[in-house]
């Protein structure tokens, strides 16, 4: 994925998520589901916050002409995906254990959020790791 395409993709994704969140939360507020709307907004703030880090980095790379991916970044991403997947299995197990207290929409939302966070945390830790094999 080249720099320009990556930047545009991230920007469009973030904007779509923001617009979608605003639309759905307004609908929820109008139906009186205030708690769900607030949870949705908070979840989107976390996701868009994470995406904004990548957008900023991608924009800086685009300006300076630095390749967005190289051997090391690809390796870090691959390892992070592996660790993220492993951690997210446990996230899903925990969520399934508490499935009586959550409805299916919340379960799915927390599960996906858990997957995103576990990947991002793994990526952050591995990006600073020495001696990445």
């Amino acid at each position: 994925m080249n720099n320009k395409f990556k930047f545009i993709f991230l920007l469009i994704t973030s904007l779509s998520m923001l617009i979608g969140t605003i639309y759905v939360s307004t609908q929820l507020f109008s139906l009186g589901n205030n708690t769900e709307a607030i949870v949705l907004i908070l979840v989107m703030i976390v996701i868009v916050g994470i995406l904004s880090v990548f957008i900023k980095k991608s924009y800086q790379d685009l300006q300076s002409g630095i390749p967005s991916d190289d051997e090391r970044t690809k390796k870090v991403r691959m390892y992070a995906a592996g660790y993220g997947y492993f951690v997210s299995l446990y996230v899903w197990l925990v969520l399934l254990a508490f499935h009586k207290y959550l409805d299916s929409d919340d379960l799915l939302m927390f599960g996906l959020l858990g997957m995103v966070i576990s990947f991002y945390v793994s990526w952050l830790l591995l990006n600073r790791k020495k001696d990445l094999a």
């Binding site: 002409g65 630095i66 390749p67 190289d70 051997e71 090391r72 970044t73 020495k130 001696d131 990445l132 094999a133």
Partner: protein, 68 residues
């Protein structure tokens, strides 16, 4: 792994940014390579060696314990 990359880069009057551009990697990768905190692939090592017009062995030094 030990490396002489930092001294060699200085000898060629290259900044980390310039070397990164010539090799086609991100600057952070050069930083990690210089600190000996990242083992490059054979392809990356060869690219660095080609840019500096040296052999891989002159830049990256693998000790016995690195190869165990």
């Amino acid at each position: 792994m030990k490396t002489k990359l930092k001294e060699l880069r200085a000898r060629f009057n290259l900044t980390q940014e310039q070397l990164a551009q010539k090799v086609g990697v991100r600057r952070e990768t050069i930083v990690f390579l210089e600190k000996g905190e990242y083992n490059p692939s054979l392809k990356l090592a060869a690219k660095v060696a080609r840019v500096l017009d040296l052999t891989i062995e002159e830049i990256f030094i693998f000790e016995d314990r690195d190869l165990e």
